[in-house]
Symmetry: C2
């Protein structure tokens, strides 16, 4: 396997493969979203991305398209065929033959990919199978950051058995997520809320706390142009089962019940548990840590459900729990174009001792910034603390 020998054409086609991969983020779970482009000489003859729910894989979609291309069908083979794919082709025959085997069967001369699959059934084995068949394999060292963005959830889960966690916040300019009385509709504008639909679609699951359900009664479903996207998992953190669960609750009304999971403490009111299960919801009991539901245990349970990316939609006490334990990979904040009172609802509660110096608080890396009308969206990721 070579890691160099990459020309401008190769780099361009990998970029197209990445664009294809980006399309499927949040839609291919539990599989990662992969993009694939097949070139016959300098002509693209096939493209694909991982299908909804993960099958068929990107390579299979691209191969199927390529085999129908006239250059592949009719020519006496004059040019080499290269398969560009964002992730190492899989080596395991699961419900269908492995992509590595299919690429051999298809007759590729060369495979260029960006990242080795961390899945131990494939890691390095995909390349071995291909090379055994005489196919030249290149692990291209380009677009590292863009590539990691397309598989951030998958990598996190493979490494830690926990999902990639995004905290999604909508606040006023001065960091308030609602009035003192709890009103939060609407701090952010129409365009921001439309973008939130896209963000939900890019995640495999949504998590909210009981207070948010009680005060906002949110739907948490995908709407408008996103409404045909497969139902996301929904997790509700409700230690004391304080939500009056019924068919009238919007979360239950607007989502498939079997995808809704309620996390609660052990030894809960048995009548309430019975009622929740009778409604068709799932109930998971977890331990407590410092008086709160154990976030680490919750994330492991969510990882067991093969969720790659989890969107935590609040409120303050939920976000604070995730920050306190350092269980977040991203903060997505929408600043609406208003200012609220100083005693209105804060974004976070205290998560470090009150006498902590400024240098002791987490520093974040700005990854993205965009205005939506008069609102601002920013995405931040943790960086090492200043020393």
């Amino acid at each position: 396997m070579t890691s160099s020998g990459l020309n401008k054409f190769d780099a361009n086609l990998l970029k197209i493969a990445l664009t294809l991969a980006r399309r499927g983020i949040g839609l291919t779970g539990p599989n990662p979203s992969v993009g694939c482009v097949i070139a016959y000489g300098k002509t693209i003859i096939g493209r694909g991305c991982t299908s909804i729910n993960g099958r068929p894989h990107a390579e299979m979609v691209a191969i199927e398209q390529a085999t129908r291309h006239y250059l592949y069908q009719t020519s006496v083979k004059k040019e080499k065929i290269t398969v560009y794919t964002t992730l190492e082709p899989c080596a395991h025959d699961d419900t269908s033959p492995s992509c590595a085997k299919e690429i051999i069967k298809f007759g590729a001369d060369r495979v260029v990919f960006l990242l080795k699959d961390p899945d131990e059934r494939t890691h390095g084995k995909g390349v071995s199978i291909l090379e055994s068949a005489g196919i030249d394999c290149v692990n291209a060292k380009v677009y590292k950051e863009e590539m990691l963005d397309t598989v951030s959830g998958y990598l996190k889960r493979k490494k830690e058995n926990k999902p990639f966690v995004s905290l999604k916040i909508a606040s006023s300019i001065n960091g308030k997520i609602g009035t003192k009385k709890g009103e939060s509709k609407w701090i952010s504008g129409d365009l921001s809320r439309k973008k939130v639909q896209l963000i939900r679609s890019n995640h495999d699951a949504i998590l909210v706390g009981s207070k948010t359900v009680l005060s906002d009664n949110p739907r948490l479903n995908l709407r408008d142009e996103y409404q045909n996207i497969p139902q996301k998992f929904i997790f509700i953190l409700d230690a004391n089962l304080s939500i009056p669960y019924s068919k009238e609750l919007k979360i239950i009304k607007f989502n498939e019940k079997e995808k809704i999971h309620v996390f609660t403490k052990k030894n809960c009111d048995k009548e309430k548990i019975k009622q929740i299960r009778k409604l068709g919801l799932n109930l998971i009991q977890v331990g407590k840590k410092k008086g709160k539901l154990d976030i680490s245990e919750i994330l492991l349970k969510i990882g067991n459900l093969r969720i790659n990316k989890l969107l935590v939609e609040g409120g303050s006490s939920i976000w604070t729990s995730f920050i306190k334990e350092n269980f977040f990979d991203e903060i997505i904040i929408f600043w609406g174009n208003n200012i609220l009172n100083g005693t209105a609802m804060p974004t976070f509660n205290d998560f470090l001792p009150v006498n902590t110096r400024i240098k002791g608080f987490p520093r974040l890396k700005l990854r993205y910034i965009k205005n939506w009308g008069n609102d601002i969206e920013a995405v931040w990721q943790p960086i090492t603390k200043e020393t």
Copy 2:
């Protein structure tokens, strides 16, 4: 006078004039910052912006340059001369002859400008003088927003006898301007703080509250590449004269004392007043309104000092007072790349009754957004409340 007949070349030269005008914002007080370009046919032969402290005017600078240009000096006049200026040329002979008269003397054929001067000594009279001399005058209706930005302070003062007020805030992502113990160094990064130097230079005066002086002991001076800019006025709001004024206080140490004004309540401790005056600072006593120094009276006093743009650097209670009375024209916020505890210092205190609905709080228009490394700078201006 015509308002149409503007061609692409005219529009381009007005844009250059605007760029020149932008250079002088905050440096030309009490005059507005004006930009001027002179064209001989399609050749630029002179450029100018209002000089430091207001004199000579932009037109005079451009004319002086143009008169030394070989096309102006040597040719038998083959092309028409057009003066492009952002503001109507002045009509009043003050310490020097009016720009209108000088433009006639210079021999221009045409004057294109963006805005009539609100100063009643000139308003429309500049144009009249020019037209009487047979010069074609065009009030171009382009770049309205950009033009108003260059003279926002001047227009506000001419209209209301009060300065244009910018609230400058540095907060964490979750709206905290310091830890609970008052530590605020540094919430924002190096690049943001460098930008603050530019923002200070764009204002005629800086205002801070006593609490900020007591907790941060800020210098409030212009540093690095801005250090040669003429001293800004500095206003300190100190109702109870709680600051221990001495030569060691950084504001006094790093700034010209005669430019420092302390606003305080009436009937203050006479010993303290004596001490402040002895230090060479100015002291202005104003009335109170709802227990706080009367911001309206303060702004009128500042307007009397012919300050066009005032930068309010905090802290929370000062900003809150300005917002409460709706005495702000702009909020400049820097979000540092950190998150702080929920009980850390808020950006604002309450400024509306606690039961105010979201739609009752001020909505702002986003005018500017830029990242400085991992920080974000945003500029907002008030818009009419939602109804």
